[in-house]
């Protein structure tokens, strides 16, 4: 049998980054092909190339055995490839019917509401999609919106291949089982399905074939019926992350714990931006002076947890204590007073004022105000800034540079350096080494250890198991709407942590 779509040696480079390297992939009619891998493994890039959104740097794409000379999104749709994107592409103010109409070019220039309504209802009934054609999309929840997206693809008669990009991430746990049933129904009808996911139990439940990507490369392919288990997939996905031995963990005796701030979470629950509970009943005591690593695939509540700790988000249950004081409802100002600091995952958005220079940004927080004749003494401020050795260690650019013109990595350095010089007692560092070069990552790690020796409690949020295992004392794993652990690093295996991370939350049997 000829595959509908086959790609060979597909490669995509963004500058110096190999997002995808020499990937061979194919899909047959009536097959569910899972693409598994951690975040950043290159799954979405691969699918976007197949869908024609990205142009491959090299490689060939064949449809029905014919090599395509030209390949773009319009042609991909013509050849029957439909994609359900992670960011659902709908106009909230329009009704379901109007959204479907916009996506169907062959529906003509004028809406035939009657006919389209009937088509929608017929397809919806066929696959048990709960969709009312005349309701506005803004009234629908994310799961229903996904149904509309799927309908758009189903109503296009040309569709033969469906690409689902992390489809279950927008679904509530009880919706996932019926979603997977729906995928099986599509398979029966002869559609070829690409399912991008990192949740192992979903893969095991429905996939006929599993391609595992890691760091842009295809590392394994499993075919249903072969002898493989959950752990094999986990190993293929996370690989063997190496623990860095060049980093010397500070000895416990070398650490002063007197100044550090301990934080305790009792039964804390948090809602995400879509008003759904993303973390339920988290109980953990963050000991003064420890480095607590937060492991987990991003999007499992890391951002929300950091915000709740820092007070930028209210918890929807439970209470928080810092050094014995109840800070559940305390303001951010109070937390800063207690010595809590944060470097968020997106410092460009959350941590700097783009039109200010680095020095001015540092003067807002971190540096002590020095005045001369009622005016800020900028020269003295600059000297004060230069006196902090972290500025040089971390490679923060010159103080007069405007923050908005810096690269993401440089901003990260600045935000990090600022948190470090502002006398923290408790530091939340979200992905502090993301997007930085090796030397700076090293400097960040050294600085974190120096802080630990000085007596600062650190919450380190990262997706990089190697970083977590090298740095943290204990690991808390976020997955499946809850936190597991904390597990002491010395006594646990990377694979175990990996397995908890990838477990998913559904319990789909």
């Amino acid at each position: 049998m000829e595959p509908i779509l086959r790609a060979q040696g597909l490669t995509k480079r963004f500058g110096t980054l190999w997002a995808n390297k020499e990937i061979d992939i194919e899909i047959f009619a009536g097959e569910i092909h899972a693409i598994a891998g951690e975040n950043g493994a290159g799954k979405s890039t691969l699918m976007k190339m197949l869908y024609g959104v990205y142009r491959p740097t090299s490689g060939t794409i064949m449809v029905d055995g014919t090599v395509m000379e030209r390949w773009d999104a319009a042609l991909a749709r013509e050849k029957g490839i439909g994609m359900v994107f992670q960011d659902l592409r709908l106009v909230p103010a329009f009704t379901v019917l109007e959204n479907v109409f916009l996506s169907l070019r062959q529906a003509g220039w004028k809406i035939d509401r009657q006919q389209l309504r009937q088509q929608i209802l017929k397809r919806a009934a066929e696959y048990r999609l709960s969709v009312d054609p005349d309701v506005e999309v803004w009234k629908l929840d994310l799961g229903q919106r996904q149904h509309v997206e799927i309908l758009k693809i189903l109503l296009d008669d040309q569709t033969r291949i469906m690409i689902f990009d992390e489809p279950t991430s927008v679904l509530a746990p009880h919706e996932i089982a019926s979603f997977l049933d729906m995928l099986s129904a599509f398979r029966q009808k002869g559609y070829g399905i690409f399912l991008i996911t990192h949740k192992i139990n979903e893969i095991l439940a429905v996939a006929d074939r599993i391609t595992v990507l890691r760091q842009g490369e295809k590392v394994r392919e499993f075919v249903k019926g072969e002898d493989f288990g959950e752990m094999d997939i986990v190993k293929a996905m996370i690989g063997e992350a190496e623990v860095r031995f060049d980093l010397e963990r500070p000895l416990p005796e070398a650490c002063s714990r007197s100044g550090a701030l301990g934080v305790e979470l009792r039964g804390v629950s948090v809602k995400d931006d879509h008003d759904r509970v993303i973390l339920r009943d988290v109980n953990v005591t963050i000991e003064p002076g420890e480095i607590l690593g937060i492991a987990g695939i991003s999007g499992n509540g890391q951002k929300e947890l950091a915000e709740v700790l820092y007070g930028a988000r209210r918890s929807c249950g439970g209470s928080l204590f810092a050094g014995g004081e109840d800070i559940t409802n305390a303001s951010i100002a109070r937390r800063i007073q207690l010595g809590m600091r944060v470097v968020t995952e997106d410092p460009v958005r959350d941590n700097v004022i783009p039109t200010f220079s680095i020095l001015e940004n540092m003067a807002l927080v971190g540096l002590e105000m020095q005045c001369r004749r009622g005016d800020v003494d900028w020269n003295a401020m600059e000297e004060q800034l230069a006196g902090h050795r972290e500025i040089e260690d971390l490679g923060v650019p010159a103080p007069e540079r405007i923050a908005g013109t810096l690269s993401g990595g440089n901003l990260q350095r600045m935000a990090f350096a600022r948190a470090v010089i502002s006398h923290p007692r408790f530091l939340i560092a979200s992905y502090p080494s993301r997007g930085l070069d090796v030397a700076t990552v090293n400097a960040v790690h050294q600085t974190l250890f120096r802080l630990k020796r000085m007596g600062v409690t650190i919450v380190l949020i990262s997706e990089d198991l190697s970083e977590l295992f090298s740095m943290a004392d204990r690991l808390l794993v976020l997955a499946g709407h809850t936190a597991s652990g904390p597990y002491p690093v010395e006594t646990c295996e990377q694979n175990e942590i990996g397995k908890i991370m990838l477990q998913g939350d559904t319990g789909y049997e």
Partner: protein, 299 residues
């Protein structure tokens, strides 16, 4: 003719230019661009329309010229606020003052001249109906067309692909783009159309309603039309209500003056604004999003 009929005739005539500018700007706002410059488009349309009507005597030429003049102002608004991403409010105001200067300069030869020709066109039969006949059907061709305009706009915006695309640009341009359409082209089209329609409305003011040209004769009607879009909650079918409400206020003001009714003209003229203010207050609290999302960012 009864006094009621007179008031109603006056209401329709005063409301007609508003319908044009209002419908036009409503379409532009649905695409995410507010054209305060419809005031300027109306002025240019009034000036050019009057010049052509008095020199050629042709209403068709006058309307075409007015549409082109209004469209020219509209395309300036489009270029600045779409391609150059300038603040659309500021741009609109500057274009209004620009149009005032332009028309005052080029229209100075027309000052004080009268058209000496009426383009009224009573519809045989219908105009003989009691009350409604003279009110609705002894008007002129531009007024008759204005009866259809909001319905046509409603149909186009809700029933055709082009209309839905225009509305989608005002809501989620990235979605429009994802379907392979060009958000900016759609915006250009909508904003220029707003200028064209406002220009025609301006021609109605000078050629048919006043039958003369005076400096700055639009006197804020374009700005009113632009703000009445809010009163319509961006629904073209409500343009009748909004425009004739304004027309009625104008008619009553004249009526009160003639009959020395002790109500200040300023109070009657204030009414449409009061209604719009109330509409603004209500819209911001209602849950249903009637305002195009892109406008929420600028307003």
């Amino acid at each position: 003719m009864s006094e009621l009929t007179t008031i109603l005739i006056c209401m329709i005539s005063a409301g007609t230019p508003i319908i044009y500018a209002l419908t036009g700007d409503l379409i532009g706002q649905r695409a995410g661009i507010i054209s305060l410059s419809v005031e300027g488009s109306m002025l240019c349309g009034a000036c050019v329309g009057f010049m052509l009507a008095s020199s050629t005597g042709s209403l068709l030429l006058a309307v075409l010229g007015a549409a082109a003049a209004g469209g020219a102002i509209g395309s300036m608004q489009a270029f600045l606020s779409i391609s150059r991403k300038s603040n659309m409010m500021t741009t609109g105001f500057i274009l209004i003052f620009f149009a005032q200067g332009l028309t005052t300069f080029f229209g100075r030869g027309q000052l004080g001249t009268s058209l000496g020709k009426s383009f009224s066109l009573a519809i045989p039969g219908l105009s003989k109906l009691p009350i409604l006949g003279p009110v609705l059907f002894s008007q002129d061709i531009l007024t008759y067309f204005s009866y259809l305009l909001p319905v046509a706009a409603w149909w186009a915006l809700t029933r055709t692909r082009l209309g839905l695309l225009i509305c989608s640009v005002g809501e989620r341009p990235e979605v429009t783009e994802a379907y392979g359409y060009h958000p900016k082209r759609l915006q250009y089209g909508a904003v220029i159309l707003a200028g064209v329609l406002a220009g025609i409305g301006g021609a109605h003011m000078s050629v048919i309603y006043a039958m003369s040209w005076a400096n700055n004769m639009i006197n804020g009607r374009g700005i009113i039309a632009s703000s009445l879009v809010i009163l319509c909650s961006w629904k073209p079918q409500r343009a009748y209500m909004a425009a004739y409400l304004f027309g009625l206020a104008q008619a009553l003001q004249i009526f009160f003056q003639i009959h020395e009714v002790p109500v200040s003209m300023y109070v009657t003229l204030m009414m449409p604004y009061l209604f719009t203010l109330i509409a603004l207050a209500v819209i911001s609290t209602s849950k249903k999003p009637s305002m195009p999302e892109k406008l929420k960012i600028v307003t």
